[in-house]
Symmetry: none
DNA sequence: CACTAGATCTCGTGT
DNA sequence: ACACGAGGTCTAGTG
């Protein structure tokens, strides 16, 4: 089953749902009345009230109040989470060794208990200065190399979006991955993933990592994968950027209101 | 009604539930398949996948993946949230003016839609902070060293605020930098910067880094700068009900182990 | 409003 | 495992 959701489960049933969710490595969400104590890097207590509890499969454990972006109490990923029933009262405990920490929730009443087993392989793609680099590359393609002709930005593949796609002076396809800061092995792996999408392509496809600098590991991996590296500093004037953003919002405003 | 939870609502029904939740100032929780676009202080996009969406009554807006403590995308409290249906597709948009930001979620499918109107008047009680250390130092100055007399907290200098300023038993000025966690080289550099403000002082000024522990690098740098280190743990007692609190925690411990 | 500094910061990355 | 830097940091507190 992909998900489960029950209203007003009793303590015993809440206990079962949590354990089911844990064993299925699902995301567990509870709406409960509870009190909380934390002891570890710091120490805290929270008297009884209605809150939302979230337990993720990586061990992330959060207690959210009805205000603020941040959880009022939490335990980071990789902590060990387990539920227990003692004298008819439910407890959830999140623990970790290093640093030694313990988060305990005493549940007095459960309004909703649910878990959810979703599929999500996609990672966030953040573009800040990368955007400016892309503009720079399109305005001055020779900055990459003489004869380079960019064709697509944000070219969509099953493995994500290619920053810049183009061809060199000999007509070879070029996949460009931009990084605004020192690039590590992950950038190389990402570039490789994009190139895998062209594995059935009959001609050779070049992959170029463009960044201000790269780590030693990245350099080695590039060589192993037969990929290239081009050093390029991101343009740092943010005068343009600001205007662009404002334009964007003005457009958005006129569109939506 | 205190809460509502529905499984597999269609787009229209999801739309209704969100609006109901918003108007009741409830916490809204959705399990959906969605893609996300953010534009504001930075820019990001997240391809389609299963995620959890949380909207709180203070305007906090989060999108959580099945991993990590932090939301993959979010909008801080006080942002304006609204849902819309366009050509049969659900969108949720979180916006704010300053700084201009926009978060848009395109919902392809809803597994669970729920909202919850809890009661929670209680605030977290926390201890084990730098602030608690400062109080401790003023109450028990001899904890730093015998004869120490603290005079100012948050003493303003051109290079920032000195945590604690005072004099030792010989009348030498003492600059104290507090850290509630393991201190690194940055803490030492910071302390050095404060001391530079007294470079024209005719007498010798002592600089003491006070923290539970320090890194090796920090120790070396301290020696180079002729600064001192005093080991001190941040106090972990709660404000008023010290005994009550300890009892509370001891009870919790003895109950669970 | 702005500015400052701390945080159970978290998260990634390099050593 | 530890140390360091960045963050759409967030959050509380001042001016």
């Amino acid at each position: 089953m992909k998900f489960l959701s029950e209203k007003n489960p009793d303590q015993q049933r809440t206990f079962e749902i949590i354990n089911e969710g844990l064993s299925k490595k699902a995301v567990i969400v509870l709406m409960v009345c509870c009190r909380v104590i934390y002891e570890g890097r710091a120490r805290s207590k929270l008297a009884s009230g209605d809150r939302m509890i979230i337990i993720k499969s990586d061990g992330s454990f959060m207690i959210h109040q009805d205000r603020n972006l941040e959880p009022v109490n939490w335990q980071p990923p990789k902590s060990q989470c387990k539920a227990s029933l003692k004298k008819g009262i439910m407890y959830i405990e999140g623990k970790r060794r290093n640093p030694p920490e313990r988060l305990e929730v005493e549940i007095h009443n459960t309004y909703i208990a649910s878990y959810f087993n979703g599929e999500d392989s996609k990672d966030l793609e953040l573009t800040g200065y990368e955007e400016n680099m892309r503009e720079l590359v399109f305005e001055n393609p020779e900055i990459i190399e003489e004869g380079f002709r960019p064709s697509n930005r944000e070219y969509s593949t099953p493995n994500g979006f290619i920053d810049v796609l183009g061809k060199d002076k000999n007509g070879n396809l070029m996949v460009i991955e931009l990084k605004s800061r020192r690039a590590g092995i992950n950038a190389v792996k990402q570039l490789k993933k994009y190139l895998d999408c062209f594995s059935d392509h009959k001609e050779f496809v070049r992959g170029i990592l463009v960044a201000p600098s790269i780590t030693g590991d990245a350099e080695e991996l590039l060589e192993e994968y037969k990929l290239e590296y081009k050093s390029l500093e991101p343009p740092r004037e943010f005068g343009n950027d600001k205007n662009l953003t404002l334009d964007f919002f003005n457009q958005a405003d006129s569109k939506n209101y």
